[in-house]
Symmetry: C2
Subunit: 370 residues, 2 copies
């Protein structure tokens, strides 16, 4: 047994409430009920990541993630080396779905690899930029409240890129918000929209037309991808990149949706595809010639740190701001050193591994299985 | 300056004759007139790879590779860290083409990374298998001579997978060879064919029909990819995977040829896409759902070792035998420890880096710039 042999994998469910619920067309989140995954090795190194349950997107729950890591994925990788990533992939893929559970195992494995070889994972993956610009997500509310939040986030963190959740009915509710933001900030902010499949194709087309003068840079999942012809009709007329997110959780889905004309850009989320599979999605999207954006799975600080590690490593994911600020709404978090957004940017860790170090007291306080 | 900072990049042209010329439809090779690329770092680690000039495929010559590494690519990466792979890619891509020169720089950089972190590159890339089965290429000759070579290679090295070069006129010359091989060895060997664009589409179709009972597993580049409609017509009727090789030197070409229906499988060559870009090609091909085969750029032992490092690291490239035996025809080579094909397999090195260690006396003897 080498020092890098995996001896066990922990799955620790925890819960930390949000200050306020985050509301969007496909659901809302009031509590971060995530699962910490820790990969232990014979030499004593421990890698850490987390999985956020998103039942309305992937069907996973906190209980399902905890169980599948404890009962299937942990035993599948135990006894292998952390370097056996290709074998891990082959074994985990025998179980369908469970994307965030698989991703957390992969990122925890990478964390050990980085620690073992004494290099930041961000650099092992390519090390393109030292960090990423941050895009902030504005959930459903009134124009006045959302403009006020944008002001606060801009003043407090220097963030000037905003992703506005849309998809309400009537669509004018959302158009009014976007217009209010543009009128308030002028060209000083970048704005784009995410419908989480809330509108029909025709509602989406009308809303896009009414927002044509507002300088949006991306439109994401405005209507359901399963409305196949409606989606294609919409994407064909959309003058800005149309981002597929929850409709492309796997490389094969990326291929299908792009070839079907159902998207012209791809959202990459490390919480859903880890580091190894996110590289596949990135290389596929780049090879097919479409743009990418680094998305947020309503991550806590652990997941956000992992997003920065991956996103800053690559040129394509560094071009646009990454969606990295959802953690700001949590009442507390587990990182020993809280993330700091400064001048609208988050820096990639420069320590070996992914830089995820937990506050063990907080983990003990918030864990749900004690 | 860190220990991993690149201080200079050497490009050393050398020439080693082949025992006999290797003949195929697009050209022939009598001498290995390759270029050794060495990446030197501040801490003293040196990474080594090589570039084989293939003017009939990529337009590169020994002189052009030596010059572009010395004058452009070396200076472009000097002063960066070996870990700055994403930045290297961005800088090298400012120069069009020159694939084997770029690939050699990337593989030499990876060699340093592996040495620096104390791990075989094969494992850093995924570490799927401990080695690869070897496929041997049979160049143009008479049926009797080619059968005799197959016997010799099978007896000496345990190789039972053969890639038969085809594309001569009349096509019956090649059909007779394939039939002679199948009749001699029965089901004990795997056979596939590579036309190097030598036939027309209709010649290819007739030859495939006449070989329909011979159990071929792949057909590669039988006719020119630039005969766009003829190629598509051929591929549509081809009952085995049709491999694109020289028509897909970049990820974008992979996408174009696959979407055009001009291929149903992709040849990956580390000599042309290094490790970093070969990962992109692999992930693209897998994401698009086509098979891959690890090809040979008429590599010497250095290039062959790099092919094994990459091919054995991934599940998809491990499924089929890799084309790894061209070096057998060279009268000498530069590795301090010559490669050994045993039981039809080559093992991936288990030492840190890629395992490329040169015999400096031989390099001094064969180098062309002294």
């Amino acid at each position: 047994m080498s020092d890098l042999t995996i001896t066990r994998v922990e799955a620790i469910p925890y819960a930390i409430p949000y200050r306020k619920p985050l509301r969007f067309a496909s659901g809302e989140v009031r509590t971060a009920d995530h699962v910490v995954v820790r990969v232990h090795t014979a030499g004593g190194l421990v890698g850490t990541a987390e999985a956020p349950p998103r039942p309305y997107t992937y069907g996973e729950t906190q209980a399902s993630i905890t169980a599948v890591v404890r009962d299937l994925f942990g035993p599948a990788v135990t006894g292998t080396s952390v370097l056996d990533r290709a074998e891990h992939r082959a074994r985990l893929h025998r179980t369908v779905g469970n994307p965030t559970a698989k991703a957390a195992v992969d990122m925890a494995v990478w964390d050990v690899i980085g620690q073992a070889v004494g290099q930041p994972v961000h650099r092992l993956l390519g090390g393109y930029a030292d960090g990423l610009r941050v895009s902030h997500m504005l959930g459903f509310d009134t124009p006045g409240t959302m403009v006020a939040e944008a002001h606060r986030v801009r003043d407090d963190y220097g963030i000037s890129v905003f992703k506005v959740k849309v998809g309400r009915r009537p669509y004018r509710l959302d158009v009014d918000v976007v217009r209010a933001l543009r009128e308030e900030f002028g060209e000083e902010i970048e704005l784009y929209v995410d419908g989480n499949r809330g509108w029909t194709a025709s509602e989406s087309a009308r809303a896009l037309a009414e927002m044509a003068d507002l300088g949006l840079t991306l439109a994401e999942e405005l209507n359901p991808a399963d409305d196949v012809l409606g989606r294609r009709w919409l994407v064909q007329q959309c003058p800005i990149p149309f981002v597929a997110d929850e409709s492309v959780p796997t490389p094969a889905q990326v291929t299908r949706e792009l070839l079907a004309g159902s998207a012209t850009a791809i959202s990459i989320k490390t919480s859903r595809t880890g580091f190894s599979e996110s590289e596949r999605v990135l290389h596929l999207a780049e090879g097919l010639g479409v743009e990418v954006v680094l998305g947020n799975q309503i991550d806590g600080q652990i997941g956000t740190l992992c997003s920065v590690v991956f996103g800053a490593a690559h040129e394509a994911t560094s071009r646009r701001a990454g969606e990295l600020s959802n953690f700001l709404d949590m009442t507390d978090d587990l990182l020993a050193e809280p993330l700091q957004i400064t001048d609208g940017r988050l820096l990639a860790p420069t320590v070996p591994g992914t830089g995820v170090v937990l506050d063990e007291d907080k983990l003990a306080r918030y864990r749900q299985d004690a």
